[in-house]
Chain length 314, copies 2
């Protein structure tokens, strides 16, 4: 049996023909062109699905479902995209629309929720049924899996862990509030923290690295720290604390089997993950009386979007 995973982004719509083991047999992408009416976009998605099936030599009747991961607030029950700012969608009945063009069951979900589900189906969390997944990128995304299923709150408006309070009244967040975890723990925040440190210490190695690279990225401070720069080391240490404190809040609330960390910053690897694990183990509520929560790096890298979306159909 096969599934199709569709990963919708502002620039492109990626699709993959996926089997039950999470192997992607065929992969294709089309431009999103989000300025169009959603009907046109739905037509393109249907055509993409048919092309994937044809390229994979799989009859449509062997495709059990189409899963779509969308960056935004999703009412998965009603099949409606409530709001997705970077594809310009507001109250779009995408499932109904897609059914006009293709006769395969369609499921939709928020992209971070899909990624979380994908990790339990095909990634680092295969042995777990209760996980908290976070992704450190432009923002801090999160997906909660309880008893093997996505938890998304009323009308899909929950699981927005990037917007828990971390520093009351602190840095302004894109959501309109101050002090959100996202404003401290995202890659965007790390870049801001790196720039500030560089300005404050113009003679640091951090500054030299920035001059060489011609820009500041989420990797800059880690790079400086690895080369022994004290300024870079301090930025990294503080940033990891921000990430760890947010994860700890989620551990105390959900006490999951594991926390899965994805997104660009998680590529810093074992050093980063171990530091978070240490903090979580030391400070989680009840200490050793309560069950240990493992912190693990996400397993699905570039294909997380497609595989996570496909996992909606399992």
């Amino acid at each position: 049996m096969y599934y199709i995973g569709i990963d919708i982004g502002g620039m492109s719509i990626k699709g993959g023909l996926v089997d039950e083991q999470g192997v992607i047999h065929v992969k294709e992408a089309v431009e999103t062109k989000p300025e169009r009416h959603y009907g046109e976009i739905a037509k393109d998605i249907a055509a993409l699905c048919k092309r994937l099936a044809a390229l994979g030599n799989v009859p449509l009747s062997d495709i059990k479902g189409i899963g779509m991961g969308i960056p935004g607030t999703i009412n998965s029950e009603k099949g409606i995209i409530t709001y997705a700012n970077n594809i310009n969608f507001s109250n779009v009945p995408i499932v109904e629309e897609l059914k006009k063009y293709i006769d395969i069951p369609v499921k939709i979900g928020n992209d971070a929720n899909c990624a979380a589900l994908g990790e339990t189906a095909f990634g680092s969390a295969k042995e777990y049924k209760n996980i908290v997944f976070i992704t450190l990128g432009t923002g801090v995304g999160s997906g909660i899996i309880i008893d093997g299923k996505i938890f998304e709150g009323k009308d899909g408006a929950g699981a927005e862990a990037g917007h828990i309070c971390l520093v009351l009244g602190g840095e302004p967040c894109t959501c309109g509030k101050k002090g959100c975890w996202e404003a401290y723990g995202s890659a965007t925040a790390l870049i801001r923290q790196t720039k500030r440190a560089a300005e404050k210490y113009p003679d640091s190695l951090l500054n030299k690295i920035i001059a060489e690279d011609g820009k500041v990225s989420g990797r800059t401070a880690f790079k400086a720290a690895k080369e022994g720069d004290e300024v870079g080391r301090r930025v990294v240490k503080r940033y990891m604390r921000y990430v760890a404190e947010g994860i700890l809040s989620l551990v105390n609330i959900f006490r999951p089997d594991a926390v899965i960390v994805g997104g660009g910053v998680s590529n810093e690897g074992e050093y980063f993950i171990k530091s978070i694990q240490k903090f979580v183990t030391r400070y989680s509520y009840g200490g050793k009386i309560n069950p240990y929560v493992k912190v693990i790096r996400a397993g699905l890298l570039n294909d997380a979007g497609i595989l996570g979306a496909a996992a909606l159909c399992l």
Copy 2:
């Protein structure tokens, strides 16, 4: 059909014979004497249950279940009290023990979780299946109801929302970490905040009220604020912000139907609840795009412990 609700505290064990409508027909209490072996305490609880049935003229065969609410970490699946510091219990198989003395099904739960369930069964949240319940007392307790059932995390170690981060690196918390919500939003924290303000402004009305009352309580600052004292008003305003920020974090994570607020401080009534509602409505993620979350005062007051425990058996 009847149920028995047992509310175990450090000082006393309260029991009630409860019907399906949440009416308590008979109520009794015995001393806990927590220094004893748990076998002795279980015997007392069994005797209390039999006495409640006898006083209510209800045969034991008409009692469908015994529910027990316990302050601590509870493994409800295994029927074990993992840890409850104020009754000195650690890894106590209380359900198994109780079965030696009485032949009625027994369920156990953490007291805040029970209180949350009780609100959905008999209290302010009867029309809701997804709520976040918080209680502002010595600490900040919480109970999460998802789809009508208690969510408690692995081995019952979750739903500890009092220990989410509110002010990174802030006030020390009893859990060993700094900056927990509990260290800002509990009645204990409010008392500390009131004392500090009184010390800082010795000529304030707040100080006069403290002198008159002979002590500082969770009500002192509210009382001063109501009498027009600026110092008291500032303490209350800041405290309500602390409470509201923590609730907002939970709203962004769970997006429940409603948040139910209990505990001594919630007796400050409409003014308090309305202030939290305003903050939550204004700042919850996604604004008006996402479903409105109602903030409601807890409905079960003094009998919350018994009714919440009984609700475990429904």
